[in-house]
């Protein structure tokens, strides 16, 4: 069996042209917005600030030594959690650019967007004339860093993948953005919340710790292991993760859920998928279903390493204490 192409070059050209034509028409039809990029014009016309600021060297999450203005005036955040943190620091006036995924607080969506989290537009960033771009370390490809540096745009990377790193990030962002005190306050709020939880959990004792399944998405069933931010938060709130110790985000199936039969199932509703409750209620023999412990907590409270982590920790603790106080004897009886 062979494939041989009998098309004459002219036919091939015609076909190719038609395809291109169809593609272009499709683009024109679908996205009238992309030719009217008026939003960038004002940003581009802002002259560079003549004021010279004092500069300090910071070490970022990639271990780079970054020389930054002590008071940056035009900041682009390429990380949703950083955007949230900047608002929590009260430094939102400095923020000139965000990503499409920076949806909290709601007013962040009014800022100029430079594209998606994983594929920001360098031109859009450049046109905003930022004096600081904050990027997630795992999104900072060498090519992107190089390009931004060639454009003389300072880049600061963050990598908050744990509670400790989140606290440090809040403190560091305060220092980088010239609001050190606010950063320290934000960081110590989270530290205090964690310390308080630790005390509470210690008072409650280890035998009151229910076994918890933390789901990230349902179809397929992806769960948060122990070696993740939500997993760490769960441990902090006094729950025992049913996932294999050391795991990150394994894909599970219902059979595994039935086999491990957790006391509590925590799910985050996502648009476009079946509701977590309906998904698990199909299995009446699950202990969490029988005892009404299939609970929804917003994904961003658990998965975004920003100021709302505290809400996530409190919600987790609440779920756990509720489960223990409503059905204490059952949970204690099922410890393995």
């Amino acid at each position: 069996m062979h494939i041989t192409c009998h098309l004459r070059p002219i036919e091939l050209c015609v076909i190719t042209l038609r395809v291109i034509l169809v593609l272009v028409c499709g683009l024109l039809f679908l996205a009238p917005g992309i030719w009217s990029s008026g939003g960038y014009a004002t940003a581009a016309s802002v002259p560079p600030s003549p004021v010279q600021f004092a500069q300090t060297i910071h070490t970022d999450a990639l271990g780079r030594q970054v020389q930054l203005n002590d008071a940056p005036q035009r900041v682009v955040s390429l990380v949703p959690s950083v955007t949230e943190t900047i608002y929590a620091l009260g430094a939102q006036e400095l923020l000139v650019g965000v990503t499409d995924f920076c949806n909290y607080p709601p007013q962040a969506q009014d800022k100029q967007s430079v594209g998606a989290y994983n594929s920001p537009s360098i031109e859009a960033i450049a046109m905003l004339r930022p004096d600081l771009v904050i990027i997630a370390a795992d999104m900072a490809t060498p090519a992107l860093l190089q390009t931004l540096l060639e454009l003389k745009i300072p880049v600061y990377s963050v990598y908050p993948r744990s509670l400790k790193a989140t606290i440090e990030m809040q403190r560091d962002l305060g220092a980088v953005l010239g609001c050190t005190a606010a950063g320290a306050t934000l960081a110590s709020q989270l530290e205090q919340a964690i310390a308080q939880l630790n005390q509470e959990v210690e008072r409650a004792g280890a035998e009151a710790a229910p076994r918890v399944l933390l789901t990230i998405m349902l179809e397929p069933l992806v769960i948060a292991g122990t070696d993740t931010l939500p997993g760490e938060m769960l441990a902090c709130a006094g729950g025992i993760n049913v996932a294999t110790p050391g795991s990150r985000y394994p894909m599970w199936n219902m059979e595994s859920v039935l086999a491990f039969d957790p006391d509590i199932i925590i799910a985050s509703p996502h648009p476009g998928t079946s509701s977590p409750r309906d998904f698990f209620l199909r299995f009446k023999q699950l202990r969490a279903v029988q005892q009404g412990n299939v609970v929804e907590i917003p994904a961003d409270w658990l998965q975004r390493p920003g100021p709302r982590i505290i809400k996530g920790l409190e919600a987790l603790r609440q779920v756990i204490t509720d489960a223990v106080t409503h059905t204490p004897e059952k949970i204690n009886a099922t410890q393995r």
């Binding site: 069996m1 062979h2 494939i3 041989t4 192409c5 009998h6 098309l7 076909i15 395809v19 169809v22 593609l23 499709g26 683009l27 679908l30 996205a31 995924f101 949806n103 998606a116 989290y117 998405m217 179809e219 397929p220 069933l221 992806v222 996932a243 294999t244 795991s247 394994p250 894909m251 599970w252 199936n253 219902m254 059979e255 595994s256 039935l258 086999a259 491990f260 039969d261 996502h270 648009p271 476009g272 998928t273 079946s274 509701s275 299995f283 023999q285 994904a299």
Partner: protein, 330 residues
């Protein structure tokens, strides 16, 4: 290939043995360990409750059924596309079906409400629409097979381009769901859908089997077919519709599961020759068994976690196929 193997009637019992073994493995292995006697006991007492019974009856059986159905549909449609297009690289998704289905699924996930049937339904429609588009183009060109393939690739690219464009606008969650959906998933066997799908698929496979002789003629080339008095346009339309429908059903039920439709037909040709009278039923049975077995492996190796089934099909299938190629090369 040694003719002695090819011309025996051993192929049918061998195929059935393979499928049977895969089904038993699919029912026995997983996060919850089962012994053979436990499995027999559970299967003989469908009314009993308890963890193991639930696991077998509510989870593993639908999943094994779905894997078998999808494996059969993909292997048979792959066989037909390879014969009609006379191209060894043809797989069930070659005529833009995957692109169309993906686009439909992403549309459903991005713009429609939370309903369990919107995604399969739109994926199904997308796949059929892509096939229809390809066939429109092909008819207009009084198509040779390579025109069909080119049209398929182009329609597929077009769908992918539109899909990428949509994903730029889609919020994070639907996008993530869509990407996972595209990777293929055998976990959501809804029994009602499964039964309808199985009914239609079996009818389509039997219909295609009844055209085995015709497929043999197509393999010789369309000129030969025309000389033999075959109405090529009409027959090809029929074969396309039947095979396309099979793929569309498979995609709607399980997303895009790779490798089965490409490799199973070739493996069977290498083992038992290219006659479609034997090739189609063998592809149906081996395809079903292969995907059931691969899924059992995918659920077991990292239990309680699982591996995407597409990884296993390629990881197990590719070396075996290379071995067969080497065997024939001697």
């Amino acid at each position: 290939m040694r003719p002695s193997v090819r011309h025996t009637y051993l192929w049918l019992p061998l195929c059935l043995l393979f499928l049977g073994g895969a089904v038993v493995a699919g029912l026995m292995y997983g996060t919850v360990p089962l012994t053979p006697s436990e499995l027999v006991d559970i299967l003989l007492h469908p009314q009993s409750s308890g963890l193991k019974s639930t696991v077998v009856w509510q989870l593993r059986l639908p999943r094994v059924g779905l894997a078998a159905l999808v494996g059969m549909a993909l292997a048979v449609s792959g066989t037909v596309f390879q014969a009609v297009l006379r191209n060894p690289l043809a797989d069930p998704y070659i005529l833009g079906v995957s692109g169309g289905a993906a686009l439909g699924a992403v549309l459903a996930l991005t713009f429609f409400s939370v309903q369990s049937y919107t995604v399969p339904l739109l994926a199904f429609s997308g796949a059929l629409l892509a096939l229809f588009l390809v066939y429109l183009v092909a008819r207009a060109h009084q198509a040779a097979t390579h025109t069909l393939i080119l049209a398929g690739v182009m329609v597929g690219s077009l769908c992918t381009a539109v899909l990428m464009f949509l994903l730029l606008y889609a919020p994070a969650d639907p996008m993530r769901n869509a990407l996972f959906w595209l990777a293929g998933n055998l976990a959501r066997g809804e029994e009602r859908w499964l039964l309808y799908g199985a009914g239609v698929c079996v009818i389509l496979v039997l219909l295609l089997w009844s055209r085995a002789g015709l497929l043999d003629v197509f393999t010789q080339g369309e000129d030969v077919a025309a000389d033999l008095g075959v109405d090529i346009g009409r027959e090809r339309l029929f074969l396309f519709c039947a095979a396309g429908l099979l793929v569309a059903i498979a995609v709607a039920l399980a997303g895009l599961v790779g490798f089965v439709g490409l490799v199973v037909p070739h493996a069977i040709r290498l083992l038992w020759g290219a006659g479609h009278m034997r090739l189609i039923p063998a592809a149906a049975i081996i395809g079903a068994g292969f995907l059931v077995g691969a899924d059992a492996l995918a659920r077991t190796v990292l239990a309680p976690a699982e591996v995407p089934v597409g990884v296993v099909t390629a990881l197990v299938g590719a070396p075996f196929f290379l071995y067969l190629l080497r065997l024939r090369g001697r």
